[in-house]
Amino acid sequence: MRSPLAVILFLCLATAIPLRAQNAVPQTAPTDDSITVNVLSDRIAVGEIGQLFIKVRNAEATMPERVEMEGLEVVFSGQQSSIKMLAGRQSIETTYFYRIRGNEPGTFTIPEFEIRLGERIAKTRPLVITVTENSDPAAALDATKPHFGKLELTRDTFYVNELVPFTLSAYVRGRNAIHDVVTADLRHESFVFRGFREVRTEGAEVGNSYYSSAVLPSHLFALKAGTHRLGPGEIVVRTLQADNGAFGLSSFFQRTASQQLATNTINVTVKPLPEGAPTSFTGGIGTFQFTATPSLNTLGIGDPVTIDFEVTGVGNLRTMGAPVLAIPQKGIWKTYEPNKKLNDEEDSDGFRAGTVRFSQVLIPEARTETIPEFHLTFFDPAKAEYVTLKQGPFPIVLTAAAAEAPAAITYPAGGGTDSAAKKPDPKFDDILHIRAGAPRWLAAAPSSRPGVGFWIVQALFSIALGTVIGWGAMRWWANHRETRRMPLAEVPFAQAMKRLPRAGAPRREFFHAVSAALASWKREHPIAPPQVLEVIGRVTDRCDAVLYSGETETDSPVSAAEAEEFLSLLRRLPNR
């Protein structure tokens, strides 16, 4: 009785095991007897690498390098052959591996594709793959997998430009299973990532298995507000292969293999900075303190002074600009573009404080007594408000050369002549009291519009100019009319004597008139004594010498003595 029951139980078990195996891998249904198409898992996470393998028996296959399809990346990755003896017959089985990777969540079907087996063509069967979004870092810890990656952010809601620390971790089952990290990568066009410069190797219990882990800390900040999916990140690690080795020398002959791990994704919300940032906001996000130190406190106009700023704190120092002047100083201080110095070693990582240094050159252009106040405004994400820090003003002493420059800042009258030395230091903290005396009422405000006085002056000047020009014109007209009425050659001697200019007239005019008068006398006295003619000849020669020799300045005024000499000589000429 026991024996048939045992046989039936054995038969049931024998039937059930293959059925269960078939359920576990439901997609094992080859369309061709010699071809088997399988996937390691029909559900993979976004960015995770899955595997498709095709087994071909007793035939040499030519496989495509890539299966073209939307949504999935299916790339040939290698092959492996084995020889088996089945019922005394040799059987060769070759397995072709394809790497599958989904970049977007969804359900995708790998279409059937043709495989050339010697001279005949075989077809694979279509396979359905579901790509899931794994946005939970806790769910990434999947003990069913021999290795996996994990992406963790300290927070999933933050502001634009706010520094957010994160870690990429690689997990490989087994103690000391990770040999080293080859590369790690996390990209997004809306984020700026700091490179991975540190690897911490640790171990962790996941499920009931022990995993080795490599943790890569870094930090990021977002450039654009909105909701973004961050990840999956990629980590390539070299793992130690579990190999017994020959003769118990496994540790000596350990082999390594590269594993590409994909991490989970994280949906983050990036908030824009609040409106109404002060003008002194220079892009810093975090919590900071700053100091300002002028290089000089005694200088002259035109001498440069450098202000060294040191900003320390936790937050984004990369997007931060230098502190700015509280009030524009155009015409008083000439400012230059500040210089920024931020070393990677001193940068904040979101946990530890960092330091950035700025230096700004200022040159005084006018007389002033202080280097003005500087403001540094940053956004504190913890308080969700803008915070303004102030430094200064810094008193300075101007050298003697500067004292001659125009004053840019004036104080109420000091009363002394040596105001620079005696100027009081006012400490007023309110406006002055009202003016209580009797007010001075004005008839009109100062205006650039011309008044009556202006037009009176214009009229007087017009009259003066008109008089001068009119007098000149009349004089010219009189001369002109006289000349026309009585040509110079026919002027009688008496008339010529009247026309003689007085002392002070230009020499040319005077001597020309004298010469004309002598000519008139000679015309009126055709028979004259020889002594008189000789005198007239000498005087005429002298006139000609003045007028035509070019040796004397003809425009210079004739002196009174010279004029009198010639006039007396002309008066003494006998008249008929």
Partner: protein
Amino acid sequence: MTFRLLILLLSLVTCGSLRADDATSAFTEGNRLYEKGDYAAAATAYQTLVDAGNLSSDLYYNLGAAKQKLGQSGEAVLWMRRALHLEPGLPEAKQSLTFLRTRLAFFEFAGTWLDRTIATLPAAFGRWASSLALWTGLLAIAGAFVAPRLRPNRSTFITLGLVLLMASFVFSRVGRYREQRLSPSTFAIVTGDSVSALTAPTSDAKTVVALPPGSELRLLRITGPWTYAEIPGDLRGWVRTESVQPVWPIPSKNPS
């Protein structure tokens, strides 16, 4: 006839002095209210005198002080600047502005030393200097050609005349620059709180810069509710017209 004319003149003089006496007593009443601490009533009393067309640096300064006590810092700066326009050396206004500058950190046009020098010149300087130089230059040139006694120094007089004509041109340009860039009529003061200059004349435009009360602007174009203005620091932007007031002239309460 002569007697009637005398009576008329006497009555005109008496009316003028009576009007000034009324204004003075109203001013004193405003001062009394201020001393009592009733700043709102004092400001109203001063404002009534201003609206009546009374011009006085004392009145403007006291109105500015009352506005400051009422917390209207932008208005306080405006009236102190108006007081300085009537009396450029008014020490009280200058000192109070220094205090308000420190407290409010408002923006001001710094200007070059040349700007500051030109700004100290009288308003009519350019017109007077230009016309005097022009007439003198013309007379020198005309005299050099017309007067025989000047003929020996004709070249000197012509050179002098040309220099004066050039000086006249320079003075006229200085006067024009002062009127267009430095005159109080080109400036306005931000009197509202939380005023910002925007990149466009719409409320949802981006901010160019926040303007503390008392900030100085140079008005470029007024288009209804929006004014395009030059801001110290070589900036330009649009501000709401009701949040700024010109330094001079004082806008009339009765446009008619």
